[in-house]
Amino acid sequence: MKIARSLFTGGLLAYTGLFFAFIYIPLAVIAVYSFNANPVNMMTWTGFTTEWYAQVLGFKTKVSESALYIESTGQLLQAVWNSLVIAASTTAIATVFGTAIAIALYRFEFVGQRFYRVVMFMPMLMPDIVLGIALLIFFVNSGIRLGLTTIIIGQCTFLISYVFIVVSARLAGMDRTLEHASADLGANEWMTFRRVVLPQLFPAIVGGALLAFIISMDDLVITYFIAGVDVTTLPMFIFSMLRRGIKPEINAIAVMMLSFSFVVASLGLYLRSRQK
């Protein structure tokens, strides 16, 4: 019995080890191979190089001398810039709107609360493609030119939900009597909000904003439909590169993106764990 039990526990542990290996080994693999010098067959190791990173960052390298590559680096930087502009704008808008809805739903009583809740959960459950085409039909019919503006508006429609969920989880967990205590001690509503609610809510708002930022940076499907012909974002750029054929510098871009989101996400999750 004892042996069977420890075998079982050991098996479970080994399984969980494999589970994490499944998640992380592929990521480790491209991290390693992004330094592979082989320009033709990326998975055959021929030597160490940082050339692809230099290439992506726009430094002059042997490869970039050949005319073929120059153009795509410019496009890449433009795509990164677009993604950052979009993510910054959507994060600002979605954070304000999402927090407003969360406060309204958790600190006020009004008819239609259930409706708002359903609307907030819809984007989470709807396949992205449905919202993408719905927005495309809408924008084209209403004569709004597809581009940065439509991407920002379109992303906001679902990023509001993400901010809402993070902030409302915090609001639901907050002790209402603290606000009562504040009012009881003579603080008016604004004072109570500023001194008691906001300090407790702040980590969640930052967390929600970070989440919105990352998801905006990462969004492909919805952006893909409403971007129009002139604007390319980073995920779209990679997607089209993948469709055209894989070049070694995608590896470097991928690793840099991974590192970036690892840092931002770690920061966000750390902030969230600290508020408990």
Partner: protein, 300 residues
């Protein structure tokens, strides 16, 4: 101003702008999509404003007799998508369920760290995570390199652009979606009940089927819903890992919008996905409602 009217003013300030935004840019577009799915396609893209149920007919078997033919391929692609999504649910469950038990029993610190490691990929770029699998699976990819150089095979295997590749990619991408709800119900599991079952003479397997599985079923159901729905409508994974060979419903919709430019038909296809989603949601609510009703009856 009275307290009540001031509260109303504050509420209006909070909700007004965001309500207008969502009404125009979220609910509006969805409504227009529904309308569009019942309109006739224009000759050069665009729509004609006449009621035209044959968009659905093309999919379900009553095509417009004048211009189009019913083609069972759409239903076939739809069913294939359902199959792939269902297999993805199964695969994520098999991957996550045992791991959830292991992690739930760790110390508080290691538990939190494990949860961090599992959620982290969710925050990294989807397209990058799929790209990794392209590098691993393609003809000149890692797996084939290893197999060829070790002499296990002589010709590279067809790993990418298969149904299996799509399921693998989706499983990889959707792991956090399945893990979180499953883990939540596993962690809540009261182990004294398991001990009670063993004490009452049920063996480990019986205890699993009669106690552990039913008690963690809500988490499994929740995970299944939130994996199945995005998997069904997904077009990125099949586009990257299925290529032109294995098409899913999402690719079909994309084609209608960006290549064929038959928007009403594309909208009708999207409506199919939406209706599956609604059916699943209602089923989930009804079933879990029944479950909680049963629980309430037991508690009495």
């Amino acid at each position: 101003m009275t307290i009540a009217s001031r509260r109303r003013f504050q509420l209006a300030l909070l909700l007004g702008p965001v309500s207008a935004f969502l009404a125009v840019f979220f609910l509006g577009p969805l409504a227009i999509m529904v309308v569009t799915s019942f309109l006739a396609p224009g000759l050069y893209g665009g729509v004609e404003w006449t009621f035209y149920p044959h968009n659905f007919g093309r999919i379900l078997g009553f095509a417009d007799p004048m211009f189009e033919e019913y083609d069972p391929i759409y239903i076939a692609i739809f069913l294939r998508s359902v199959e792939i999504a269902a297999l993805t649910v199964l695969a994520t469950l098999l991957v996550c369920y045992p791991a959830a038990f292991c992690i739930a029993r760790l110390s508080e610190r290691s538990k939190n760290f494990c949860l961090f490691l599992i959620t982290l990929p969710f925050f990294t770029s989807l397209i990058v995570r799929l790209f990794v699998w392209v590098l691993i699976l393609r003809q000149t990819g890692l797996v084939n390199e290893v197999l060829l150089s070790s002499g296990l095979t002589e010709r590279p295997l067809d790993l990418i652009y298969t149904k299996g590749a799509i399921i693998l990619g989706m499983t990889y991408v959707f792991i956090p979606f399945m893990f979180m709800p499953v883990y939540a119900s596993v962690e809540k599991l009261d182990w004294t009940l398991v001990r009670a079952s063993l004490d009452l003479g049920a063996g480990p397997i019986r205890t699993f089927w009669r106690i552990i599985l039913p008690l963690t079923a809500p988490g499994i159901a929740g995970g299944a819903v939130i994996v199945f729905i995005p998997a069904l409508g997904n077009f990125v994974v099949p586009a990257v890992l299925g290529g032109a060979k294995v098409m899913m419903f999402g690719n079909l919709i994309e084609q209608q919008f960006l290549a064929a430019r038959n928007w009403p038909f594309g909208a009708a296809l999207a409506m199919m996905v939406m209706s599956v989603m609604l059916i699943m949601m209602v089923a989930h609510v009804v079933l879990s409602g029944r479950r909680s009703a049963a629980a309430a009856a037991l508690a009495r």
